[in-house]
Amino acid sequence: MTDAPLRVVIADDDPDIRTLVSIAVRRAGLNLVADVGAGDTALVALREHKPDIAILDVSMPGMTGIEVTRALQDDAELSGIRVFLLSAGVTDVARQAGIDAGAEDYFFKPFSPRELAARLVEIVAKPGAAL
């Protein structure tokens, strides 16, 4: 484990939410390398930056967060990225679809920036599956 902060990419079509998540990310002491507003551009950013953590909104234009997650799993270089999905969805069926696609966990909207930051700190302390 290195001392350099883990690198994060955020994708959400709502810029206000994006800002809110990025504040939580910084407060957790992580390094935000990119924030984008659509699924397809998220995939481009992820390929470019190869971050440690991706926080993806489920419903985005271009590609959904779940589709992006699947694409990451299919790419050997990117399958190590720990994916967290951000969702306003409520059904267990929808939740399971994300986990099946390869996401590590869900963050549910609405969220408290304070609690999200605390969760991220916890997540960083606990190493991911592959890393």
Partner: protein, 583 residues
Amino acid sequence: MSVRELLNKFILVDTPTPLLKQAPTTIAFLGAVAIVLSVPGLDFTDRTAAIGGIWGVIVATVLAAVFTWQPAFARVALLIPCVDLLAIGFFRVGTGGSLSLFASLIILPVIWIAVTPQRRYIILAAVGTSIALMMPFILSGTLPQGPSDWIRGIFTPIVFAIAAGIVNEMSRQGRVQVAAIRALAEERDVMLRGAVDYTNRLRDNEERLQAADRLTRSVLDAVTEQSVIGTDVTGLIDVWNPGAERMLGYTAGDAQGKRYMHEFHLIEELLLLSKELNYPPGETVLNPGFSALVESARLGRPEVRQWTYLRSDGSSISVDVAVTRRVDETQRTVGYIFVATDVTQALEVSRLKDEFVGLISHELRTPLSSILGYLELMRDDEDQPLSDEQLQYLGVAERNAHRLLRLVGDLLFTAQVGSSSFTLDATDIEVSPVLRASIESAGPNAAAAGVTLITSIPDVASPISGDAVRLGQACDNLISNAIKFTPRGGTVTVSSINTDDQVIITIKDTGMGIPTDELDQLFARFFRASTATRAAVPGVGLGLSITKAIVTAHRGELDVESEVEVGTSFIVRLPLKTTKKLA
């Protein structure tokens, strides 16, 4: 009416009446009287005897008429020919005695006597004849003069007796034959009546069958919104109602006896079910897909399943199909019935509803996320601490944003309960901690409303199978309701008690109460009690319907008791998970 029928009606030859039997004697006698009176040179030799004879025949004829009219005298009917014989005896005396021309009249009553069953009447005939012929000597009190008179008195009766014997025997044989013929005729009659009965029953049965057939046909024809299709055991179609014609586009003539049921199914769906049922792959049965289709029905378990039907124009249609088996009189399966309902529209409605739920979920929660998130950032900003007044304003904004969020959640939940996507995440949980958590979170609200919160939860295990989050939501709803509807200074009591198989939670308030006539609508969506709206207590009327749905999903019961101006109690009964087996 034919002549024969007329004769049969008035002259019963089979069972001749005494009057009919007497008729030849009377007629012949009248003839004799007429001859004596009209032929010159003939005259009565003994007027008194002749008149006695005439009277005798009249008496016999009257007797015959009376006996005919009163069949009770039939037993003594032989009296009549006896009287006749005597009367003829007298008449013979009156018309010349031994030389009388009318001795032959005797034959008529003798025949009557002779045809009577039993041979002893032959003797009676002989004796009667003898008396009639010997009448001149009986009346004069003298003995016969010469051998010719003796011979006439003995020989003639013997001849008559022989004739009577022959007649008696012939009539006996005749009677036997008639009886045999009659027996045969009766037998034939019985058989004929049997045949007629059988024919009538056949006709009745056929009419009933036709009526049943018409009924079945009219019922099938009346089902126009559903397809009713019948097949034999191999799936060959033999019933095809107008509903099927409408739904699938083929006429009965196109389908019956020509097509198989599986031809109307998506083969992929049939193969999938075959796989689910663990049919060996590549099995060479006639129609493996059809076997899968009727598997459940064949085992006597009618089932309803969703399928896709293929229509004649190549399009497809979603249907709910109920499959049942057809059996013969020995309960052997002889085919299947498929009743299908078009669910395309229902599926579309359900899909739109889910889409709407998703839309609300996203479009309402996302802005609320921002509102709540940024309010929190403002509150947490350590560089620029807010004044107390600003903090108070912020609190109001936060409280209302949370209220809106709860409302969105309630709406979503209500929509989910109505659709199939509502599921409980059931695990083994304890009721008491869930209840305590709800009470604890309601504490600040109760304090703010000036309501005393009393709790009485025994320290015993209350294990149930349930969803702690949902159950907590139900408890929150009931407790916050109780606080909301209780005026300042009142109390809300939350208690729980365990019975053998239930945990009973009671939430009792001293609030405004609910009118009795509104209690049964209380759990309906968007219903609000009149007392609540009058007192302007905020709410939309979803909390109790949600609570009811949650309690029901836990296989529990939710009851309410209330009195206006006194208070309301909500009682939740949840089935305890049995631990007796472990104890």
